[in-house]
């Protein structure tokens, strides 16, 4: 199976092609077209041990809110976006600006303490829409695009869960 993976680390973002073939106990791997002597074993639901020619690595994986994977390898951290071959069709490639109606999600559980814009307001990319308080800290939720605040789904004082839709920006 072939995957296209966009990997972001301290050194920047790059796209890689990873081929994974498993025949019985043998796993063959190629990264960017180059075959690699690798052995990978899932040691826990969210941890994978990888051996590369005798070098041992342990990678802890979790999925972040936006669907990308967070990979921790000791002190180093990467985020990976996987482009599944089956999902290639219909995928927007190279879309830099977000388009269409955007759901504004709560990034953490908390309480809406202040609304900074009203329904119908024109908003700029990066403009604060509302403030969510969590753990005694106030966090501004910003608009992902320029457009119009179409709907607000929360009120001041309301508790929200992580991932809950707070507003729509059209």
């Amino acid at each position: 199976m072939k995957f296209e993976i966009q990997l972001t680390g301290a050194g920047g973002t790059r796209k890689h092609a990873v081929e994974l073939e498993r025949k019985g106990d043998v796993c063959s791997v190629a990264v960017d077209g180059e075959a690699i002597d690798a052995d990978a074993v899932q040691i826990a639901p969210n941890a994978i041990s990888v051996m590369l020619g005798g070098q041992s690595f342990e990678i802890h994986i979790s999925r972040s809110m936006d669907g990308t994977l967070n990979l921790q390898c000791g002190p180093h951290e990467f985020s990976a976006e996987i482009i599944d071959p089956r999902a290639w069709r219909g995928r927007k490639h190279g879309a830099v600006e977000v388009e269409g109606r955007q759901d504004i999600l709560a990034p953490m559980p908390g309480k809406v303490v202040r609304l900074l814009a009203a329904v119908g307001d024109a908003v700029e990319l990066g403009q604060g829409l509302l403030v969510v308080e969590a753990m005694k800290m106030q966090n501004e939720i910003r608009s992902p695009k320029s457009g119009k605040l179409e709907r607000l789904l929360v009120k001041e004082g309301q508790n929200v869960n992580a991932g809950e839709v707070l507003a729509w920006v059209e």
Binding site: A10, V18, I59
Partner: protein, 505 residues
């Protein structure tokens, strides 16, 4: 000794106290708010009772509810931990009204030593050096300015009701005095409803060094040596160690004697901490007294071999302190880091949420005082302190190396933690030389990040392979089977092979 103790707290400190009780054979009762039903301090307790909704003022701060639980469950003592009601004199009063022993100082000692002004007055009476300044709030700005000129700039204006840096202004010179006076007063009025301020000499680059004292009800008061807590982010301690890299045996004795004098003068009983500021010439000035157990108490425990929580319980049970010496010499070195659910790469924003996986460090010289577990959701309603990681060794160097090693083993996914902040601090040359002061970390954070050491060869490839494998296992996409089937060969097959091997000549 007590039969059953109510632990009026939550998180890692409630767990710490529970463990001490269990070792002493004392039954434990926890209390919890609606969002803490699955917290570790509830899981580990012998009994646990719901005391209200998430908001602290409706649960952990309700003395009436705590007293109800204590009476209903038949507790004979209460431990307040730190934070919440630990320094509120109403709690020991309520306990004594209910016939329950409060594990801590008396309400009177708490009031006589706990507030900044009362503590300072007591320190002057006990001949403990204080930062030059006024012990009473000053009402008149002209009078204050004359005092400042006399004392020499820089000076500090500090709200009498202050805390957390609010209502505090550093005045660098005479020209800035009038506006700083105005700002400090109005900020204090807004934050605390009390605009009175007092004036102090401002120390440049002071260290925060504190002395742990223990006093029993039979007149013995001893010092357990110092803790260095100079690494602070916005007045919050982040890394603590014992002994301090700058304290000499002579200074330790002098500061310990001063702290003991203060404890005696205030009629103090139980564990307490006397905080000092220490300047570049190793002059020490009394700052304040914390009339409770401190977050950073484990570093003292590691270098003295004592269990402070058990000693607190013994003192409350009217036992005599079981040692004959008046001061103690630290052995080896210990250091603690406070792990918070916050994102150091994003302005230290809090990061509550579900802990997907948690792999904790172990091995020589490592202690983890934790309040969390894998699968638990960190609530958004309380302080984001998750756990405290403590390392100790023969020297400061060995301790730092162990702490670094333990931080590399520590993996928490699902939430963000400040682990990377500690990696950075423990690599700073100034920190390694012990050249730290209370503003050192804020200054370090204001500097541009040094580029992190690049990952070793192969790390990116390993990450890519792990991502691809995990993704395919998650979606069940690979026709060639999941990782687990590859990891565990059939035991029947292995047994068959082993038997065949046995039959070989």
């Amino acid at each position: 000794m007590f039969k059953k103790i109510l632990i009026a707290n939550r998180g890692e400190i409630a767990v710490r106290i529970l463990r001490a009780c269990r070792e002493l054979g004392i039954q434990t009762v926890s209390v919890y708010s609606e969002v803490d039903r699955t917290s570790l301090h509830v899981r580990l307790a012998d009994e646990a009772y719901l005391i209200g909704p998430a908001a602290s003022r409706e649960s952990y701060l309700r003395i009436d509810k705590l007293m109800n639980v204590a009476k209903k469950s038949g507790c004979d003592a209460l431990h307040p931990g730190y934070g919440f009601l630990a320094e509120n004199a109403a709690l020991p009063r309520a306990c004594s009204d209910a016939g329950i022993t409060f594990i801590g100082p008396s309400a009177e000692a708490m009031e006589a030593m706990g507030s900044k002004t009362a503590g300072k007055q007591l320190a002057r009476r006990a001949n403990v050096p204080t930062v030059p300044g006024t012990s009473e709030p000053i009402e008149n700005p002209e009078e204050a300015q004359a005092l400042a000129q006399n004392m020499g700039y820089p000076v500090l204006l500090k709200a009498i009701a202050g805390g957390g840096g609010k209502g505090m202004r550093v005045v660098p010179n005479d020209a800035a005095f009038a506006s700083a006076w105005r700002d400090a007063g109005s900020e204090a009025l807004n934050a605390f409803g009390d605009q009175r301020v007092f004036l102090e000499k401002y120390l440049v680059g002071p260290r925060h060094i504190e002395i742990q004292i223990l006093a029993d009800a039979h007149g013995r008061c001893v010092s357990l040596g110092e803790r260095e807590c100079s690494v602070q982010r916005r007045h919050q301690k982040v890394v603590e160690e014992a002994p301090s890299p700058v304290v000499t045996p002579e200074l330790r004795r002098k500061m310990g004697d001063a702290a003991v004098r203060l404890g005696r003068a205030g009629g103090y009983v139980n564990a307490g901490t006397v905080e000092f500021l220490v300047d570049a010439d190793l002059n020490y000035y009394f700052l304040e007294v914390n009339t409770r157990l401190q977050v950073e108490h484990p570093v003292t425990e590691q270098v003295t071999g004592l269990d402070l929580v058990k000693l607190q319980i013994a003192i409350a049970a009217d036992h005599r302190l079981p040692f004959a010496w008046e001061t103690i010499t630290p052995r080896g070195h210990a250091m603690e880091v406070r792990l918070y659910a916050e994102d150091p790469d994003n302005n230290f924003f809090p990061s509550p949420g579900k802990i997907i996986s948690c792999h904790v460090p172990t091995g020589p010289g490592i202690r983890l005082d934790e309040g969390v577990y894998e699968g638990w959701t960190v609530p958004m309603d309380y302080d984001p302190l998750l756990s405290k990681l403590i390392a100790w060794g023969n020297s400061r160097e060995e301790t730092i190396a162990r702490l670094r090693r333990a931080l590399d083993e520590y993996t928490i996914t699902g939430i963000r933690t400040n682990v990377s902040l500690f990696r950075r601090i423990l690599a700073e040359a100034e920190f390694l030389r012990g050249e730290i002061h209370t503003k050192w970390l804020d200054e370090m954070l204001a500097r541009p990040h040094p580029p992190a050491a690049p990952p070793r060869q192969g790390t990116e490839e390993a990450a890519l392979i792990a991502a691809a494998l995990w993704h395919s296992a998650q979606s069940g996409a690979t026709s060639a089977g999941s990782a687990e089937s590859q990891a565990t060969a059939s035991r029947w097959k292995m047994e068959g092979r082993r038997q065949q091997m046995d039959h070989m000549p």
